[in-house]
């Protein structure tokens, strides 16, 4: 075999490099355009603070340093291409180190394709947005451990073995379980392939014993963490095949190399070696590229991607993008309704277009109830903040901080809430923490400026709007904000457009056109309705007039456009043609009047579920 490779020495030298280049260019492009690592940041929101205290917390347990590094690097994942480049660079580096280890183990000059298998699994893992970068960093660290074991110095065993153990312990502390997977592979390699049984046994014992010793010292840590932290096996979001593929690849590689040395397998191995190098290279390249793409495609969860994209755009207040992303959703979730309704409101279209979107979650998709708030507390907090419900915004921002940790976004939001409430000391505390996050100093300084300078605080349009909207008189809530709460907001500030729109939307979504009519019959147009009545409101009024015996239709005149009235007559006609039979009319009505309040009210309005009770306090 060696002879054969020598005859193709240029190919042996450059073949794997070319293959890696092709593979990793595709790897990078898939990450950039299909996975979008910014969504991993949106999903995980890692917490990172500068300073020794935060670092020392992470140095206290195996694999902690990789978590620390990962949190720091991931905080910079605000650009897809840059984040993709980062991941690609780390995986490629690890792959290079891995190739050199396998080459050393086999004694071959050239290894191709096989060493790319973990990279393919890592691509699949990163396709799931819950995969932290620490997994990849830990894996690369394990590759470094393997690579360094190529050097068998010092030659004296009684120095080499302790030195080897010391290096292994360092790597274990850096990378946690990832180093153990390399340790087991090294044990197999040294013991079986290289015939250094004592070294193999020592490494095997170290791989089992050192985590146990770490567990004994770290009183607060469960045993499982000492072994698994840093391995994909501890993360249920990663596809199982990828998790096991990454964790077991090193050991499998060592075992495979050992198996090829067995006499019984010499014949097939030799036969395989007779294939020409370019042929094997081409076949390997095709296989690994196909495998990587299939693994990635199998790990894609389009729905999660849509939800994360929508939430990310909502966080950026890029409302047209929210609607654009949501329009591509395959499947639906109440949080999408919440974000779509918020985006529609921000564009002044809520009461004109909300029924063009799925509203199957009813009022929960407009003003989230307790269960949905718990699932998406930060998103809920931002919604309530925009309305002026500062107390509920504070409540859910704190719940979010409990679940996600003190992320820069939450520190900024909470700091702003306390600043607007006039709790200067608390606001400064959040500002001080914000200053310790990557790139957080300017925001922290700005927040501190607004805390100290009232004119500065009140002069900002975003602050002014919330200050004008937030309640002055206290009231209490034990569940989600109700219509009464929205009314209180409107009493405080009749120009609160969000409260006004949401109040009308709530009546619409509850199918309570009577309430809507009664609250607006005074003739006073709510904020933002100058000139014309929103389309869905007109539809609801016409519906109300039609189903209310003795209703004087002339009263509708100030509210209704001619077009909508005409359309409603056609709607009534369609219904009559079906013999006023709801079931028979459904198909025709849906075809002709989709996206109207009428279709929602007649066919899509969800039945009221049981009210969610408040939580007990413990």
């Amino acid at each position: 075999m060696k002879e054969k490779i020598r005859t193709n020495s240029k190919f042996a030298l450059f073949g794997p490099l070319v293959q890696e280049a092709v593979f990793f260019i595709l790897f990078f492009l898939i990450l950039w355009f299909r996975v979008r690592p910014t969504l991993s940041l949106e999903s995980q929101q890692p917490v990172f603070f500068s300073g020794w205290a935060f670092l020392s917390e992470h140095l206290a347990f195996p694999g902690g340093l990789m978590d620390w590094l990962s949190a720091w690097l991931m905080r910079g994942w605000t650009s897809d291409w840059l984040a993709s480049l980062e991941i690609t660079a780390v995986v490629w580096t690890g792959t290079l180190l891995l190739r050199r280890w396998i080459e050393h183990l086999t004694g071959f000059w050239s290894v191709h394709s096989v060493h790319l298998i973990p990279a393919a699994f890592l691509l699949a893992a990163h396709t799931r947005y819950a995969t932290p970068f620490s997994l990849t960093l830990g894996w690369a660290c394990a590759c470094l451990l393997l690579f360094t074991f190529r050097y068998e110095s010092p030659r004296v065993p009684w120095i080499r073995i302790p030195a080897m153990l010391a290096w292994f312990i360092v790597c274990y502390w850096l990378a946690g379980g990832a180093a153990l997977s390399a340790g087991i592979a090294l044990a197999l390699a040294q013991g079986l392939v290289r015939g250094k049984h004592w070294e193999g046994l020592t490494l095997l014992a170290a791989s089992a014993g050192i985590p146990f010793i770490a567990y004994l010292f770290a009183e607060w840590s469960p045993l499982k963490q000492a072994f698994l932290h840093g391995l994909p096996l501890e993360n249920p979001a990663i596809p199982l095949h990828a998790a096991y593929g990454i964790a077991l690849f090193f050991a499998a590689a060592a075992l495979t190399v050992w198996l090829t040395t067995l006499p019984v397998l010499q014949k097939p191995v030799n036969r395989f070696n007779e294939w020409s190098m370019p042929l094997k290279w081409a076949a390997g390249t095709a296989l690994i590229l196909a495998a990587a793409f299939l693994l990635h495609a199998g790990a894609v969860n389009r729905f999660t991607r849509t939800v994360l994209s929508v939430n990310l755009e909502a966080r950026r207040e890029a409302w047209p993008s929210v609607l654009e992303r949501a329009s591509r959703a395959q499947g639906w979730d109440p949080i999408l309704s919440v974000q779509v309704n918020r985006a529609l409101q921000a564009g002044g279209r809520l009461l004109d277009e909300m029924f063009a979107w799925p509203q199957r979650d009813g009022d929960n998709g407009l003003i989230p109830a307790n269960k949905l708030c718990k699932a998406w507390p930060e998103e809920t907090a931002r919604l309530f903040f925009s309305m002026g419900l500062i107390g509920e915004a504070q409540h859910w921002a704190h719940e979010a901080m409990t679940l996600r940790g003190p992320t820069p976004e939450l520190l900024r939001l909470l700091g702003t809430i306390y600043m607007l409430k006039g709790d200067s000391a608390a606001a400064l505390s959040f500002a001080a923490n914000l200053a310790k996050t990557p790139g957080g100093r300017p925001s922290a300084a700005d927040l501190a400026l607004c805390v100290r300078d009232r004119a500065e605080r009140d002069g900002r349009p975003g602050h002014r709007r919330v200050l004008d909207a937030m309640p002055e008189k206290d009231f209490i809530s034990v569940g989600r904000p109700s219509e009464a709460d929205l009314l209180r907001l409107l009493e405080r500030d009749p120009e609160n457009r969000i409260a006004s729109d949401y109040r009308a939307a709530l009546a619409l979504i509850e199918g309570d056109h009577r309430r809507l009519w009664e609250t607006l019959d005074s003739g006073r147009r709510p904020a933002g309705w100058e000139g014309r009545t929103p389309r869905h409101v007109q539809e609801a009024f016409l519906f109300h007039a039609a189903v209310t015996p003795g209703f004087d239709a002339r009263r509708l005149q100030p509210w209704i456009d001619g077009d909508t009235a005409l359309r409603f007559r056609r709607f009534e006609e369609t219904f009559r043609r079906a013999g006023n039979n709801r079931s028979l009319a459904e198909s025709a009505v849906r075809d002709a009047f989709s996206g109207t309040y009428w279709v929602y009210r007649m066919f899509d309005r969800p039945a009221a579920g049981p009210a969610e009770g408040p939580d007990d306090f413990q």
């Binding site: 205290a53 469960p222 704190h398 000391a425 034990v478 306090f617």
Partner: protein, 506 residues
Amino acid sequence: MTSSDNIRSGAVRASLLILIAAACSPAPDRPFEAVSAGRAPKIVPDYASVTIPPNIAPLNFSVDEGGKGTVAVFRASGGDSVTVRSRSTVIRVPEKRWKRLLASAAGGSLEIDVFVRLESGAWTRFETVRNAVSSDSIDGFLTYRKLGPLYNLYTRMGIHQRNLETFEEKLVLNSRLAGDACMNCHTFHRGGTDRWLLHLRGGPGTSMLLTVDGRTRRVDTRTALNKAPAAYSAWHPSGEKIAFSVSQLLLFFHATGENRDVLDRSSDILVYDIRTNTVSAAAADTNRMEIWPDWSPDGRALYYCSAPRLETYVNPPGSDEPFAYDRIRYDLMRIPYDPESGAWGKPETVLSAADADASVLEPRVSPDGRFILATVSAYSQFPIYLRSADLALVDLRTGQWRRLSEANSDRAEGFHSWSSNGRWIVFASKRADGLFSRPYFCHVDPAGAASRPFVLPQEDPLFYGTFLENYNAPEMSVDPITVSPRALSRAAFDDRSAVKAEPVRP
């Protein structure tokens, strides 16, 4: 030795010298010619005019006066002194020298002269900071729960124990080891750690984690008498019984001001007997809500708080609020108890809410039985969320009470406890920012006068400025907790040793 060895050795020595020189590079010199600022320095935490125990950890502080160097000269009344120089604003006193200093100041005073080097290079001298050092020692350990601002959700919380003489903090138990359980209300028997308990919610099972003579087991305190599990516990002086409250609490939210508030919907006080593993009623009037028990030191009376039942406060339909939460006020009560027979006497009012014009809560009887330290707040049974919550001292000898104005602030105070010698109190206070509670200490003299409080010292004096968790329910103990976190965790999950309490029907 070869010449190359010589060179190498010389290089090593030179490097070492450079390193040592760098490490010992001159801190700012003593500023003999400083200009007086004519006022006291602003120091963080505020360790001025306080009384401290002779065995407390160093009161490290930061001087909030700007500048590029600081010198602090500590002078004990006994003659010892320590000078600390700093290139920053942070003053850290080495532990050994601090101990010597306090030993010299015990029963006297500790004065601190602060000098700040301005950007211009000139020095400013501030007026002397004077503190008293009591001859009364404080218990060596403080146990508290660290958790974020508690709303409904929690993911990471832990009970920790701090050595008050050093900066060492050890974990007692955290939610990770306890199967993501919520944990609360750690309580010691007479300030010792032979017998102590904490409560778990969720995780391995809602229960009391009870340690008796070093052995821990899980006790499910829910019986036919009480659907709710035990909370707010108090050890009988005999160490054989534990009074606790069972409550149905509801967290609700305000639109303005302090966001959180808690409503007591129903509560009673029961007693768990360790020997018989039984639960019996203590103060469980169906027309009242009873909460926050504490025993008298002789074990012959139980103090607690009581208010008319919730139905009294329900507003008629159509009202703005469903209930008049802000009218619910608790009286401080006492019920006699005969430890021999287990018989209860007739409840009597010690301090009524009407007399106090406040809700009287969290009574803690001093070890000598003379005082009750309580919290008074505008309403409610859960004062730490209320800005109006203040400490109050009830003199059981005279029946008089007063707000402990020496210790109070304009923010919430509560969750207090006494040291075993009765000369120190610790309490949680939100005075710094209104959001995060920190443990503060006061000296209390035999007549009940308290000193100005000081916050638990930290190695990094700026620690509290960015720490986003509460120090909840601080309790002092003489000894450290000896059960390891892992042993507690094992006990929490050990179904074989777990017991379910039996009810004793009246």
